[in-house]
Symmetry: D2
Subunit: 272 residues, 4 copies
């Protein structure tokens, strides 16, 4: 240990040799999660309320629960196109069990893949310091600044534009629901203002990541929660793909074969 | 390729160079999952209905959807005691991102950990050939046979007994709900008959895995779906633990340290 | 805990709250591995001797060390064709760091992929009960039995035949070296006898997995060590592929795109 | 695609539908790696030379090969104390196969765990712009600057200090070998100069990561290669630990149990 750093606690144990947690209290014949008995939670909560409770420590209002449910559903599946789905199927095809194939899929949620929602939440949340007390024209100014900045630097704004969809159908559905539930907070306002400007200048719309980033920001989730919520929503789709792979395709498939490969390296070196 | 085996299809492509899927159709501005437009699914389905649709290809009845929701919630969390939770926290503590820590947690769902529900479903489903047409006394006979067999071979019956709980509180809650919803099929009857006998002879009750294995079997899920549904239910809990680890504990924790280790190997060999 | 099972030790700790290991003794300023000081090992062992020491607990003879080194090198790389390589590159392309992409590659070593060497070792070792005391004509009889059995059941013999190579060039090189080092034990004899018969009847040769399975069996490695040794040998190649992916290719690549996908599921279902 | 970004290549295929690689050319009965036939490589290279060839594209001189071999051996094992080892054993204990337990171990090489060697290489390489043409007193000045900076900011210098060892025995062995082989380049000189100053002021020595970071930098490896080389060196040790876990310990172990856990969350909330 050098140079004045405070000593790390080097074990998962605290001073009394205990691991600490505030999530679930396990006692014989008794399970308390976030303060509630699991019997009660099992009987009374919807799965999306349970997710919310686990992540935020509180049960959401019925209105927020409904919206949060829509968000989870909206992440469900995007076919075989995402690399995570391809990885999960490739690992399953090698004969590894379900949990392992799923695990492989999750490893593909690297910064180029699942990062958009988190980056979008960071952008929205860092742009609005005090969301209680901000007026609409102030939001428009922030949107202007973000879009100008993006155009000048030729950088994409995370959460806007989609490689396949001009208008991501999930974006449209989820925004409609947010209006219906009257859950339009400052972050959604900001996202819509950015979209307005991008449409004018580039014909580019918000995508599902941007819409959900705004909704989740209005619900008070931190940016890093975005990735977790995305993964929860996508997991059942990954399982469906793994099942499809195992049940309907030949084992040990490859995405490419010997003829698909171009070798551009050295060819004729001699070892003495 | 030898010995008369039929040639493997060696690529994920079929004869027309296409990857095949029946889960989601992706077209510009249009996403169809299991035949329904995602706009509709986002607006109208609960998250547990969506999971059911992805895994089974059909939307469940309201009654089944309600019960399936209870099952998902019942898997939510069991504190820091399961190895998967410890693995996820350990990986998170090393500084790896959320998706990677989650992935580590999933890798710990090996056959000794998350296997009980699948094995329990296999047992129930293989014991009852035709669940449409079976009488209660026949079910009791099967239960007798299973329990005798287990006692004679001194082998646990998967889904019964719990290392911490004499009466797993989740089992009690979920069975009560199954009765309330009048969803008592042959597999639950079999599980209850086994429990009766085990209580008599060994004072051992069904656990949550056994109860959910029976419920899911009655819903028509295959054994291998059990693990997937368990993982979906447990994932949000794992995320909560990873967040807790990252937010509240020192980095680079260990579950043991140099003083906790007993070395029993060779000590003084000399290399010439 | 039910039904007379002996209680599991539920912690990594033994009765004195210690984790046990016989691999490395860690003391302040002193590291003893398999009985030798690490200073000595670092100065005097080749890396393949070190691998052997870690796995078997003993330093090999110079002759065996040489052969074991050849085996490790022979696993080095097979281009982009193996699914593990494709998985590692796919995960790397998503923006995950090196250790994560490597981890993804390892997950693809499922039973359909890296299993051949282990299955081949199982076959060789289970066919020869006492390798000290067996005559060549007895080995030939065993080979005959294995080949007849395979032909009758139309099942491949693990370690023979290759999807790309009629004659796997690595097999030829490694067998030549085994002869040169005069390390032809009963398991290699058995493998050669099987190959003779398969050549006669099916024009099928041993592959590198079969050759290495025989060599490692003669060295006294257990079947389950085969997979580990294969992974050690292949790891540097996987790293080279990940580096190539990161340094020379665009981010977020996919092995297929929207046009490569054929959707065969439901198309027009209506949700009410 | 928005805002003027150049379109990503969205497939692993290039314009001619080929995957590209410069590592291994696969043809029927022929394998060329880095320009050499694999038959030749198998017969003539030591495993550490093969690793070097795969990573750098060139075969090292005998002197460098020898030193690189020492470096690989020096990473071999550090007992049960590193989190990666604990993770690998925990996953193995859950009943997952070897490749999966190894994969779990690799996931624990997060930035807090395996990052030191890479950060150390970055520091050394970014501090010396032109290593051909630098004089010893210039190196001493750079060392001074680095140490002053560290003391002022109370930040550790990566590669110096060890949590268990005052003098890491591997550091001492590996430096001695570098002197013996007369492979003392500018990066080792810099590391030694930093150590001199830290010893004077803080009684802190270089550790094995710092020593290897300097040696590998002098060999021309990039910082990101450091992690890969570390993982190659550590992998056999992880396998030894997984084997030990599977062969000598009870299944489904945990690093903590119910009594080791302190719950500090809510206890008595009521759900209506």
């Amino acid at each position: 240990m050098v140079l004045g750093e405070k000593p790390l606690k080097n074990a998962l144990k605290d001073s009394e040799s205990k691991l600490r947690t505030g999530i679930t209290k396990v006692e014989p014949n008794k399970l308390i999660t976030r303060g509630y008995s699991q019997e009660d939670l099992i009987s009374k909560l919807s799965y999306s309320e349970m997710v919310y409770l686990l992540l935020k420590g509180e049960i959401p209002s019925k209105k927020v629960a409904k919206m949060f449910n829509h968000v989870l559903v909206s992440f469900c599946d995007h076919g075989v196109t995402p690399p995570s789905t391809q990885t999960a199927r490739l690992v399953a095809s090698s004969g590894s069990p379900l949990n392992v194939a799923l695990s492989g899929g999750l490893l593909s949620f690297g910064k180029n893949h699942a990062g958009a929602i988190e980056k979008s939440m960071e952008l929205f949340q860092s742009s609005i310091e005090n969301s209680e007390d901000i007026e609409d024209n102030e939001i428009n100014k922030i949107a202007s600044f973000i879009v100008e900045n993006s155009l000048n630097n030729k950088k994409k704004i995370p959460g806007f534009g989609h490689r396949y969809h001009n208008e991501d159908p999930r974006r449209t559905a989820i925004l409609k629901l947010a209006f219906k539930e009257e859950l339009i907070g400052t972050h959604i306002k900001l996202a819509l203002a950015i979209e307005n400007l991008l449409m004018e200048k580039k014909n580019v719309k918000m995508n599902i990541d941007g819409a959900n980033a705004a909704i989740l920001s209005d619900m008070g989730f931190a940016p890093q929660d975005g990735t977790g919520i995305f993964i929860i929503g996508r997991l059942p789709g990954l399982i469906a793909h793994i099942n499809e792979e195992v049940n309907e395709e030949a084992e040990f498939r490859k995405f490419c074969d010997i003829d698909d490969i171009f070798y551009h390296g050295n060819k004729n070196r001699i070892l003495d």
